[in-house]
Symmetry: C2
């Protein structure tokens, strides 16, 4: 895949934290990176900091049609709308990918909509920060993160390989392939459920007076409670049935612990703690 580096011009659609971080890394690697953003200030920032070579706020055929690879770093609904509106402008043979955190509600829709001469290879870079916006772009967030490709039967081996190479050169630690269904179940449990828990815990009490007593446990469990409510509400809604299942799974275990405590059933409490200790140990290997 030497060719990947030699001739690709990459367009980033949406310069938020993730789009900006993609742009930063790809520019550093020598790609010609263009961008579409809603606001001129975003483009100005990205130009001044060397994240992109050029950019536009308006979507034109002339600009869009020059790119071989287009990365959509938009919210799920905005991404689908863009494809519906502007896919005519895409260069024949172009490859499209995304960074969307939910897959079942996006992948089949976009693949169904899209022209047959353009391939959409879906991906989810599992990286982020508690802050958003292009000015927080930092490609180092990819170094310890997972890159998940979620292809369907419509994808070609070449398309998948291209996006695998993209994940690789962006610096992700681990690259995996899952079906959209497997992805959404996994992300519902590992990411969305944990955010629900953190938000619920953080909203229990006024924390201002608790700050001085707070040890590592509470800080760890609520780090992700600083949350972009627009993005996460959309992600939750797009994965609603799966997230509800994962929440119910957690509720069942939490209620089991509560009932055991209320009943003074220390055997069940200890059994849960032993299982928990044993399973957590996998993570420290």
């Amino acid at each position: 895949m030497t060719g990947f580096i030699n001739y690709q011009k990459v367009l980033i659609v949406g310069l938020g934290l993730i789009g900006g971080s993609y742009a930063q890394k790809l520019s550093l690697l020598g790609f010609e990176v263009g961008a579409l953003a809603r606001r001129q200030e975003t483009l100005d920032y990205a130009l001044q900091h060397g994240l992109i070579a050029h950019g536009r706020t308006d979507v034109t055929r002339e600009y869009v049609s020059q790119f071989d690879l287009i990365v959509f770093a938009l919210y799920p609904r905005t991404f689908v709308d863009w494809i519906r509106k502007y896919q005519d402008y895409l260069k024949p043979g172009a490859v499209v990918t995304d960074v969307t955190g939910v897959k079942r509600s996006v992948v089949p829709v976009v693949q169904e909509l899209l022209r047959p001469d353009v391939e959409f290879v879906p991906a989810h870079p599992m990286a982020g920060r508690e802050v958003c916006g292009v000015e927080n772009s930092d490609a180092r967030i990819f170094a310890n993160a997972n890159f998940i490709i979620t292809p369907t039967e419509r994808n070609t081996p070449e398309g998948i390989e291209l996006i695998r190479t993209l994940g690789c050169i962006l610096g992700f630690r681990h690259i995996a392939v899952l079906s959209p269904e497997e992805h959404d179940e996994m992300i519902g449990f590992l990411s969305q459920l944990t955010h629900c828990i953190a938000v619920s815990l953080m909203t229990c009490k006024d924390s201002e007076k608790l700050v001085e007593y707070t040890g590592d446990s509470f800080r760890d469990l609520t780090r992700i409670a600083r949350i972009n409510e627009e993005m996460w509400t959309e992600l939750f809604m797009e994965n609603r049935d799966e997230l509800l299942s994962q929440m119910d799974l957690f509720l069942a275990q939490f209620s089991r612990m509560r009932e055991a405590l209320a009943a003074g059933d220390t055997d069940t409490m200890k059994e849960m703690m032993r299982l928990s200790t044993q399973r957590r140990a996998y993570f420290d290997k």
Copy 2:
């Protein structure tokens, strides 16, 4: 309080992680530290590593009566039993303190039992690790931690001041005074509830296949899911009513999020996320 350093001999009863870490720091500071432990191997380790000057596995009047300050680093019930059995051996005028993580069920009982010529000043060093035992002793765990003194009307200003100085020289970042009731509510929420959540989350699914996809969120929320089941079950049981209240508080918020998601009520979801973000911000000041 220069006198504190000059003439005190300190006895640590119970050489686990916390007892061992107290011993390590106090020995480094030049105190003569003695210890009572159940197993000779524990004492051998502590002697070889300079944590203590001497120690015993049997409790005798001759040994116990030489100490001015006695720190109980035992499980709650074991602490109360020790006092009941051996308090006659304590030197007249001695000060007793503890490290117990629950207070309402321990403090009044011990203060009621204790001879009038010995003062018990309760304290809770809010420090710990995911490992236990004397061989994991490390006084550096105190550096970022809180030290809570929970006196009652039976305590003297001098006794409280002595234990405040103890917390200070052990290196705690922040020393506070709370009532046993305030302490148990706070610890029920900040520490015990968070451990219940972590254990419940960790027991939801077999994690072995999830390890490779796990990002920081899940790792953060389950770090404390490696748990000493004997100690934590006893701590939960000793604070049962308060912990049940805190669990119900969390359940109410989590259920609110679940109902909002199920109903597609994005306004409520966003409102909770905004409140969560605002409250979490206190912690990053």
